[in-house]
Amino acid sequence: MGEQAHGSVSSQFYSNENDTTIDMTTSEKVVELLNQAALISTEEKLIVLKQVQELIINKDPSLLDNFLDEIIAFQTDKSIEVRKFVIGFIEEACKRDNELLLRLIANLNMLMRDESVNVVKKAILTLTQLYKVALQWLVRTKSVSDMQEACWDMVTQMKEDVLGLLDSDNDGVRTHAIKFTETLIITLSPRTPDSDTPKKQEGDISLDKIPRDHTYIRYDTLCEEGKSALEQLLKFMVHPAITSINLTTALGSLATLAKQRPMFMSEVVQAYETLHANLPPTLAKSQVSSVRKNLKLHLVAVLKHPSSVDFQGQISTLLLDLGMSQSEITRCTPATVQPRKRLHHEPYVEGKRIKMEAPLVEDDEDKEEPAPVVTPKPSSSVPSSAIDLTAEFLLPLLNPENVANLVLISMVYLPEVMPASFQATYTPVESAGTDAQIKHLARLMATQMTSAGLGPGLELCKARDEEVKEEDGGAGESSSKDPLIIRKLSAVSLGQAISVVGAPAAYKSPVTEEAPQIKKLPEPILPTTQPKAPGASGRKKVFKLADVVQPFSEDQIAKLTDMAIRRILQSEKTIAQSGMSHVRVKLLARLVTQFEGGKKNDLLHFILEDMRGRSELAFSLLYHEYNEYLSQQPSGSLDSYEHCLFTLLSGLQEKPEQRDGLFTKLVLEAPVITDSALEVIQRYCEDESRVYLGMSTLKELILKRPSRQYQYLNVLLNLSSHEKEKVRSTALSFIKRMYEKEHLKDCIEKFALTYMQFLVHPNPPSLLFGAGEDTEVASPWTEETVRQCLYLYLSLLPLNHRLVHELAAVYTEAIADIKRSVLRVIEQPIRGMGMSSPDLLLLVENCPKGAETLVTRCLHILTDKVPPSPELVERVRDLYHKRVPDVRFLIPVINGLEKNEVIQALPKLIKLNPIVVKEVFNRLLGTQHSEGSSSMSPLTPGELLIALHNIDSSKCDMKSIIKATNLCFGEKNVYTSEVLAVVMQQLMEQTPLPILLMRTVIQSLTMYPRLAGFVMNILARLILKQVWKYPKVWEGFVKCCQRTKPQSYNVLLQLPPPQLASVFERCPEMREPLLQHVHSFTPHQQAHIPASIMAVLEANTRKPEPEPQPELLHPEIIEEREVPVPKHISMPAPVSQPEPLAPTPVVFAEPLPPPPLQQQQQQQQQQQQQIPPRREEVEEPMEQEETDHASLEITPEAPLQQMEVSEEAPQSNSISEKTDEPMEETAAMPVDVADEPKDESEDVVSEAGESSVD
């Protein structure tokens, strides 16, 4: 295969090339194409072959002969389409070159016997064309060769074959045969001036163009053949089991005949009449309307033809019956210009036409009963048809009495069920009893009688025909060379002879009254009515049989029935081939329903073996079972039906796989879904591999069976809390779709709410555990059971926000465990609702008591990824201020609040659980969202830190504040050295100084050692602000100096002596180094040190008397000294700054004023340079000090605070890690706290590490 495909591609490629090179001759091209065609796939082959056909038929017909055989070789191709192409080719070729008929007709003949009906049909179509071609060709040739004769004989033979196909058992083949017959009749009859000939067939041959003296073609023979074809067509039409399509086709053909050959008008109209009165009983209702519509259409067409003049009465009666209004009919009737036109073909019609009615009749009928004598009204001028004659005969007999008798008698023969055709055609008789109506009735009866082979008119006509035939027959026999025709003719005349025998007898017998006639009449009709009620008559016979035959024993009966049924079962294939499988199915179903037990199960097993192939049987059986149940109403039981349905459904479930929705079909088409069937459906739904199928079936049930809709819905709803995830989610998605339906909405909602209401109970109801019912006892709620109650509700929530209030109601009543679970599961749906949901906003606004946590959770979910909307903020603010002053509400919307609101809330916020505090800070600092920019904090990081320092210590314990500031320091990315510098600067400028100022300074310094210079300035400025007046700050000040020595020496020297003394009191170890530092000054520098200072420095010797003085003095000094600041700054700082290494910098005699902000940068840079070497010295002591230091920081604060804190303080002094535990308990601050100090110390260490790298 692959090779072939490859070949085709390459050859196509090749052929493309060929197209471009025009040099190639047509012949070569054809060869090329034919070579390709042999190898490629069907579709491509067709394309290629069509190209060839175009080339050799149209482009260069001279090649036709050369390549004929090559193309014809494809007639054995596997593909139907290719074979059909060959037929088409034969047609085209023969039309182009008639001589080819000689060679090709046999091929066509062969193809006409093809196994595929589609090929046969195509062959018939082609023969339809070629018949004319062949005839014309022969007529043209004056001297006909043997070959031609043989060819024509074959064509004639084929024509007969096609006519024979009118009895084919394939509908389509029959249809084609009808059309062939139509053309044949037209060809084999003369065209007359009043013929309506289509323009394109203007040149076609017809009987009138055939010379009577042709050497081979016999005019008469052809004429006869045409007539016999018409006979066959007419006969075909009255077949009682004709299909609607064949009938339609035939009706159309007749109309064409009437129009193109008006000489047949009478036959056609009669055929229409007969048909109208005797629509085949096999037609379904809609088919009847289709056929009637067609009949109407064709009648109108015929009516429009001028030659219909003589039949206008009959046609309009028919049309009226078919529901056309009189005015419409008149509109279609041509003006009667030439009423005599019909005379033109009178000579031809005479005798010959009428003869054709004979075969319509079943000849043997007339033997049985002598027909009534014909009224002696010799149809002198115009020979009337048999129907006309019979109608005339009947007319006087139709008096009220006779008609009444007729009606009564025919009652007996009425079918049990009104046939569809009657139902469709019945219109109340309006003009009953009028002459016109009686005439119409007579004619109707005459039509029936004639078609049944009865009536005086018929006899008369036959007699008349006979005479003609005698002459014709003789002539035909003598002149015809065609053996076929001869055989045909003799057969016809033979049949005729029989009828003749009966006819005279009929005339002789005396006129009997209506009675015998009536007895006779219905019988021929019976065959048509019989098929309508086969059941009734069939059953009767069975009973008769039972009378005659010896009864079997029970066992025998059982055995026989078993065997019979088995045989029917096993004959599946054979019967299917015969096309009667529907009968078998019906039979089986009906039989089996009448028996109990075993046979049913056998049949069910049989069905299940091949459910797909035997679904028809399954349905049939099911319906019969149901019927059985209905017929036993009201006492009937559904058990048997239920068993059947249940077995089928469960059987299907056990099958490994079925895609074709048989299950769905079975469920949906079952008349009743019983409980057990519903269980099977539920099993389907619970089967993970079938869940979709099951549920979509269930959905169909819910939507299409409204009477028990809620029961089905309930099944689906129950599945929504199924333990299997797939089942559950599928059920939920189905329910969600159904939730859109107004009438189901309530039910679904109620169910969801009921389930949710379970959460109020102390224990989960047994319902949740499926079948096991006594689990009620004490099994506690689990996460799983809680979820089960909520699945449906939660999936509805985003669709109907109103439901959220119900949740709040349930939530308030539920126990803590459930609350926790609820909080966990609502995230998805709440997020789905979005913060703009009015109901959600309402919930926030109302916030039922007990649902605070729920509301908070909702708020968190909503603001997790996006900043809060103003509406939401507004609701929360309201709630907070007016109803529930729980600061936690504010957290989710904190970024939506005003700055001062945040600052107000801060004291409360930082008292919360550390984790929560951390989150608050994350939100405020924008460190929470990765997007960052989306939420704009109302506070800048600096403002936040400042706000923390300014918290009134009466509102919040210092400890919390410290922790909060620590959190800030933890965010190093946010709190850069710049930010901290600004914070320090601003804090320092406040009055009074914030308690935590120095702590923050020290911490900043720890984090960013390069801030040392800046800190020195701060310290200096603090001196100006008389820092010693604030004990806490003063303590920190000293500590800071201690940590920053030796840089801080210069600062210390600026202190007034009493304060300096106080420093030494606190840390005596500072004195000696400071003194040494001073000693290292140049004498000039030393001169600047006031004596009082020196006195303090040289401590032990002197007493600290002059304390009050310097305190007074100092501010002045400072003020004086402030003046030269600019000067000092203008001096190149670098020169002086690096000196601290060298112990005596001269310049530093004067105290350092705080540098303006602009200089910070510069200074920091400078300091960076100087820090590293010094760091190495300082590092270790600092580290060691750290713990002490931290504890020291806290101790002094303690007394200021409330009792509780001070209690802790001493404990926390000792070792920071130990302090954590008690704190955790009292302040309910878990986990995080333990980390905090560690972090801090780690920070310090790492800071140190980093700086050492510097």
């Binding site: 069907t42 593909s79 139907i80 389409e81 009906v117 589609n118 049909k121 179509l125 339809t128 394939n170 509908d171 389509g172 249809t175 084609h176 059309k179 062939f180 053309t183 289509p198 323009k199 394109k200 067939q201 299909t243 609607s244 399509i245 339609t248 086709t249 159309g252 109309a255 064409t256 379904a284 209702k285 809609s286 088919q287 309307s289 289709s290 519509k293 067609n294 259409l297 064709h298 067409a301």
Partner: protein
């Protein structure tokens, strides 16, 4: 049969709603399908029942669309006409009249009885040449959007079933009967010849 795809024509009155809906679905399912109207004009609903918008078959869907937008965009958006035209113009340029089409089909499906009659009348008035049969089936569909959609699916199912028959002409009768039962609507069915 399955070898060569069914050539299908779907016909309604104006070649706008029902036939186009079916055209749309059928072509999506891979059928060789064309759609037509049988009316003398193309009629679309107007501001009042007695004031339809009338176009000839030469007007493109695009032009109609623009015309209606100009006349009353809101009305025609609201009653779905613009949406329909928009769909149509993506299928083909303009409506086509069945009576003017000479192409041969295997199956012609009409959407109401009046149209069926017109199709039959037209097919029967043509001169027969090849005698190639064409089956004409009427499926009654009300002329509104919902019914058109439902009808289109029914038509599509019908076509698919017909396409899958081994011998269409032999089985179509039974098939239609089955469909009648299933869909609870009668089908008119006949055969004409080209």
């Amino acid at each position: 049969m399955p070898a060569d795809p069914l050539r299908v024509a779907v016909v309604c009155s104006s070649n706008q709603n029902r036939s186009m809906e079916a055209h749309n679905i059928l072509s999506k399912r891979g059928f060789d399908v064309r759609s037509f109207g049988t009316g003398t004009h193309v009629k679309l609903p107007g501001p009042a029942p007695d004031k339809p918008n009338i176009y000839d078959f030469k007007t493109t869907y695009e032009q109609m669309y623009n015309d209606l937008v100009r006349k009353d965009k809101e009305l025609y958006t609201q009653n779905g006409i613009l949406h329909m035209l928009d769909r149509n113009k993506r299928i083909k340029t303009r409506p086509e009249r069945f009576q003017s089409c000479r192409e041969q089909f295997d199956l012609v499906i009409t959407c109401e009885e009046r149209v069926y009659d017109q199709v039959l009348e037209d097919l029967n008035s043509r001169e027969q040449e090849t005698f190639q049969p064409v089956h004409v089936i009427n499926v009654d569909i009300q002329d509104n959007h919902e019914e058109a959609t439902l009808g289109a699916f029914l038509i599509c199912e019908l076509c698919q079933c017909i396409q899958h028959t081994d011998d269409m002409e032999n089985e179509i009768d039974e098939l239609l009967q089955e469909f009648e039962e299933k869909s609870h609507r009668p089908f008119l069915h006949t055969v004409c010849f080209y």
